[in-house]
């Protein structure tokens, strides 16, 4: 395909993807599968059954050392101290003005914190943290690990069949993680993901990931799914994608990620950009990330301008055709005065104005399996 293909590094499952007919594209510096049989079919399969995604491009880190919780709380707005072993939390690496350097997951291991960061920005994240963490804190980038995501309503049935461990897999509810084995291979499994469906992320040694992928894909519920469907699934789930919907110019409140500022941290502050973020939490931010439902069939893509009458009030940051909705959808930032659900706006695509309405997100309901809600 393009020349970029040759400069993109292969991931541990590279040959496995190609053998399964994947079309590989460069993404985050790696050659990654964009699709196998087709984005719409793969999207629908994940919503109905279970899709296996290779997300080994993401950075898997562990942090350890005396004073770790305080050290992390100086970089993130999460309540790290209250994070119990086996619990997972979504958080944000923030710069001094409250801009988002990355969004990430934290999970407490008995003596460490396990962190998953975005592939495209992981080198910068690591440099940022290493420069700021005290010498007593060690940060290990586990480049020897691969990461798979198994997502969809049948993900539990498929994974439970091949997993053993001290705890039954059902002990994991949304945003929990623990150590398991898949055919004797050590796997750290969390019940999490980025499709809006129930599902799991599975961290294994890169040398074993092909065997784990084979075992999972041998289950009748499971098919491999590419990046294309991963993007359409997360867009329908209303989940922002770093580098598109989030960047260092966006703050957590504008990004509608206020839930990531833990309650205690709202009172105490002490995280980067706290002054600005706490002010926005109290008074509202000048812009807001919103969902947009488009009329007609023509999708609006990233970069399309949003208008209220003749006045530009925002920009689309992600957009496309939503297979499960059957219509084009988008997310973008609009001025606060135009951010209320139901506000009628227009999006300009190739000189044409498309009618759009600010819509509640997610566009497709989340189906996370939460504790006590069996």
């Amino acid at each position: 395909m393009s020349d970029d293909d040759h400069i993109a590094e292969p991931l541990p499952l590279d040959a496995w993807h190609r053998a399964r007919g994947a079309r590989m594209v460069p993404f985050a510096g790696y050659a990654m599968p964009i699709q196998y049989e087709g984005i719409i079919a793969e999207h629908a399969w994940t919503r109905e059954h279970a899709g296996l995604f290779d997300v080994s491009h993401m950075g898997q880190l562990t942090l350890a050392g005396e004073g770790l919780d305080d050290a992390l709380e100086a970089l993130l707005p999460a309540d790290v101290k209250s994070l119990a072993v086996g619990r997972m939390r979504y958080s944000l690496l923030l710069n001094e003005s409250g801009g988002i350097i990355d969004d990430l997951m934290l999970c407490r291991w008995p003596t460490k914190i396990y962190m998953v960061v975005n592939g495209a920005v992981k080198a910068g994240d690591i440099a940022h943290m290493r420069a700021r963490l005290p010498a007593a804190i060690t940060l290990d980038h586990m480049t020897e690990r691969a990461l798979l995501a198994l997502q969809g309503p049948e993900a539990f049935a498929a994974l439970a069949r091949v997993t053993t461990g001290r705890w039954d897999l059902s002990a994991l509810t949304f945003m929990m993680g623990g150590p398991y084995e898949i055919d004797g291979i050590d796997a750290f499994i969390t019940r999490s993901g980025y499709t809006g469906e129930d599902g799991f992320e599975i961290s294994v040694d890169a040398a074993e990931v092909e065997r784990v992928a084979d075992i999972l894909c041998a289950q009748p519920e499971v098919k491999p799914i590419g990046l294309g469907a991963r993007d359409s699934l997360r867009l329908e789930a209303g989940l922002p994608l770093y580098g598109h919907d989030l960047d260092t110019n966006t703050d957590p409140v504008s990004a509608d990620l206020g839930f990531a500022i833990s309650k205690r941290r709202r009172t105490e502050g002490g995280f980067p950009g706290a002054d600005r973020i706490l002010k926005y939490l109290a008074d509202g931010a000048p812009t807001k990330r919103v969902g947009l439902a488009l009329e007609g069939r023509l999708p609006a893509r990233e970069g399309a301008e949003i208008f209220a009458g003749d006045v530009k009030v925002g920009t689309v940051t992600s957009g496309g055709f939503a297979p499960s909705v059957g219509a084009p959808i988008a997310m973008g930032y609009v001025d606060a005065a135009h951010a209320a659900v139901g506000t009628r706006l227009e999006i300009e695509v190739r000189g044409k104005r498309l009618a759009a309405t600010v819509a509640p997100m997610p566009f497709v309901p989340h189906r996370y399996v939460r504790k006590g809600a069996a």
Partner: protein
């Protein structure tokens, strides 16, 4: 009727001074699921090698170029209701538009089917 192909993966089937334009099977496979096609309105003057239509797949918008210059005489209205025709029948029911050729000489230099197949095999 003679069919010619471009390096941008359009096909043009010519009969006299009229022609039908679409994208090839190779192109639709590369694009993936087509969700919207914007075809030029009747009367549009298109120029060889310039944007004439836009095809939107799930993941991206791509330009479709006019293989030769001419005036659009018909746009395929079936694509409005069923853009996936481009995937299922790219070189049949999934045609994009018809045009009246401005200069049949522009067909010279386009590939025939054998040459196009060899071109695609080399990609």
């Amino acid at each position: 009727m003679t069919t010619y192909f471009t390096q941008d993966h359009e096909w043009i089937a010519v009969e006299g001074d009229s022609a039908t334009v679409g994208i090839t099977d190779y192109a639709q496979a590369q694009l993936g699921d087509v969700v919207f096609v914007e075809v030029p309105p009747v009367g549009t003057e298109v120029a060889k090698g310039k944007e004439a239509a836009v095809v939107e797949s799930v993941k991206a918008a791509s330009d479709v170029y006019a293989p030769v210059s001419g005036t659009v005489t018909e746009a395929n209205s079936a694509l409005e209701a069923d853009p996936a025709l481009v995937n299922t029948s790219p070189e049949g029911e999934g045609w994009f538009f018809k045009l009246k050729l401005a200069d049949a000489g522009e067909l010279e230099g386009l590939m025939d089917e054998t040459a196009y197949k060899a071109f695609v095999a080399g990609l």
